[in-house]
């Protein structure tokens, strides 16, 4: 037999009265500190401090120590020159694809000095994946796992609840968002904790469009460190503007959601190493092949003249509407496979600061990478098509808007 709602609660009441005794509940220091991290007045400074620590450790470890300290030296000083000499058939197709395209598009073959310029599968491909992205995601996931296991995440969610409400999402949307900063794929999966179709759709679309993944952030920090602030600012503003618009436009409800804030806990070493290990093996299995494949495809398209043709055809859009050079067509193709690779390729194109900011923002928002795409398809093809529709509109309006801002500020033509 089944009970009615009230009967069930009455029964529970009875049972708990018989079996549970609540002692005097004293506020412990842990509770009091927990409260401080949730109240806006004190919680926002704490959040700012935690982000500072996160970002500082990220830059110190991935940038200063691993990439600039060792990997650049290793790849540019030893690996590239060695491979340029050891790989047979300089100037041949295979050589261009695998090792060094020798100044793509130019008429003369010149050996590249750095792994960024070489474009080869074995040079740029491996350097981007191992030398830049791997250290970036390792430290990123370590920090993320720590914040997760300590229990800070739900508190951040409560803190940001009021802000996110404006975009039709409750504070819990911060969890998929932050997961997406690591990789968009688990971020999209995490949207399942949102209640209505509307919320899931808005969240998924915003993630796919505006949130750069850890790999991409890592490479941006390497190739355009001075412009990072601008790029992230554009993305964050876009996230809120379009979240707001989507919330108004998409039919459906965005109900309140109550979160349980778990107690702060000491993180378990075992759990953290397990998480990071899973991520890193996943990186080798999924990301590395895609980076190399992306390199190969872009190189082949270059050699076939497809990219130049695409650039010429799309030139009015690139130059006229977005104000970026038509050479960005190549990286945009690569961006479908791996965004980190695309940013690396952008870095060797000659551009003004404005153009570089816009190009990186465009690479981020223009299309989800293939892995995210597959994950969104799993969530429903109707939503995917709708999301792509939104995406196209966003790319054109937002890209144009950024161009307009550039013109107003006098940095773009």
């Amino acid at each position: 037999m089944t009970l009615s709602l009230e009967e069930r609660w009455t029964l529970i009441d009875k049972i708990s009265r018989e079996t549970v005794t609540f002692g005097k509940y004293e506020h412990t220091l842990k509770d009091a500190i927990g409260e401080l991290t949730v109240k806006p007045l004190t919680g926002i400074p704490v959040a700012i401090a935690i982000m500072y620590g996160f970002w500082s450790a990220f830059g110190s470890f991935a940038g200063t120590l691993m990439t600039d300290g060792f990997f650049v030296k290793l790849f540019d000083g030893y690996w590239l020159p060695w491979l340029q000499g050891a790989f047979p058939g300089q100037g041949s197709w295979l050589y261009s694809i695998m090792v060094d395209a020798g100044g793509l598009g130019g008429s003369e073959f010149v050996l590249s000095d750095t792994c960024f310029e070489a474009f080869g599968v074995l040079t740029s491909g491996i350097f981007v994946a191992i030398g830049v992205v791997l250290p970036a995601i390792s430290i990123f996931y370590l920090m993320l796992a720590l914040l997760e296991d300590v229990g800070y995440m739900p508190r951040l969610a409560v803190l940001l609840d009021t802000v996110l409400h404006r975009v039709g999402l409750h504070g819990y949307a911060i969890v998929p968002t932050i997961l997406s900063l690591g990789c968009n794929v688990p971020g999209v999966a995490a949207t399942r904790i949102l209640e209505t179709k509307k919320q899931r759709f808005i969240m998924m679309t915003l993630l796919a469009i505006f949130i750069p993944c850890g790999a991409q952030i890592g490479i941006m920090d390497k190739v355009v460190p001075a412009l990072m602030g601008w790029i992230l600012l554009y993305l964050i503003i876009g996230y809120f503007i379009f979240g707001y618009i989507l919330n108004k436009v998409v039919p459906g409800k965005a109900p309140e959601f109550l979160i349980d804030v778990p107690p702060y806990r000491k993180p378990l070493m075992r759990n953290i190493t397990k998480k990071i290990w899973g991520r890193i093996t996943g990186f080798f299995k999924v990301a590395l092949p895609f980076v190399m494949l992306g390199c190969a495809i872009v190189n082949v398209l270059y050699l076939l003249g497809v990219i130049q043709w695409l650039g010429d055809v799309l030139a009015p859009i690139f130059v006229g509407w977005f104000g970026v050079p038509k050479e960005t067509a190549g990286p945009l193709v690569a961006a479908f496979l791996r965004k980190d690779l695309a940013v690396a390729q952008l870095s060797v194109i000659n551009m003004t600061d404005y153009q570089r900011i816009t190009a990186v923002v465009l690479v981020t928002i223009y299309f989800p990478c293939v892995a995210t795409f597959a994950m969104m398809l799993k969530e429903g093809w109707k939503e995917l098509i709708a999301a792509i529709g939104v995406l196209i509109i966003v790319v054109f309006t937002y890209g144009g808007l950024i161009h307009l801002i550039g013109i107003i500020l006098g940095v773009a033509e």
């Binding site: 506020h27 470890f61 200063t64 300290g69 030296k73």
Partner: protein, 158 residues
């Protein structure tokens, strides 16, 4: 009666704490403001005997300055009536912020000290390595030892 005497007892031992953290709060707040002013001004600031170095870049000076300033305000707002748990939590939070800042700064020093630099060998020379840890230090690193006092009070609260 007992409750009263207990709280009196507590207030006696915590009056030193209140004074200590109030002073620490003033110093920390001053450091935070200095950080922000130096960043706004643009030129790096090194104090005479080269103990203190206030960073001037937008990240460490600006963003970081904001964190140091918040830490100072946490100390100041928690120092009064420090025996009360919620007040004490503010003081503890001030210290936690300093630890985040100092930890970030020290970690940055470590990562800079290990590699040999663009034209050098793979690893730094021992002299170069040690030179990285010589003063001047950023404000948060100087504040670190003073902020650790809070641990004493956490373990001796009862």
């Amino acid at each position: 009666m007992t409750v009263q005497s207990q709280s009196q007892l507590q207030s006696e031992s915590s009056s030193t704490a209140a004074i200590y953290f109030a002073i620490l709060g003033i110093v920390t707040t001053a450091f935070g403001l200095a950080d922000l002013l130096v960043t706004a001004g643009g030129a790096e600031f090194v104090y005479g005997t080269a103990i203190l170095e206030i960073p001037n870049d937008i990240f460490r000076g600006g963003w970081g300055g904001l964190v140091v300033l918040s830490a100072g305000l946490f100390y100041l707002s928690g120092a009064k009536n420090i025996g009360e748990i919620h007040q004490f939590a503010k003081v503890a939070m001030g210290s936690i912020l300093i630890w985040i800042m100092a930890g970030s700064d020290i970690f940055a020093m470590i990562t800079e000290s290990i590699p040999g630099g663009e034209d050098g060998s793979w690893f730094n020379t021992l002299d170069g390595f040690l030179a990285m840890y010589a003063p001047p230090y950023a404000p948060a690193v100087l504040l670190l030892p003073f902020s650790l006092v809070v641990l004493y009070y956490i373990y001796h609260r009862d």
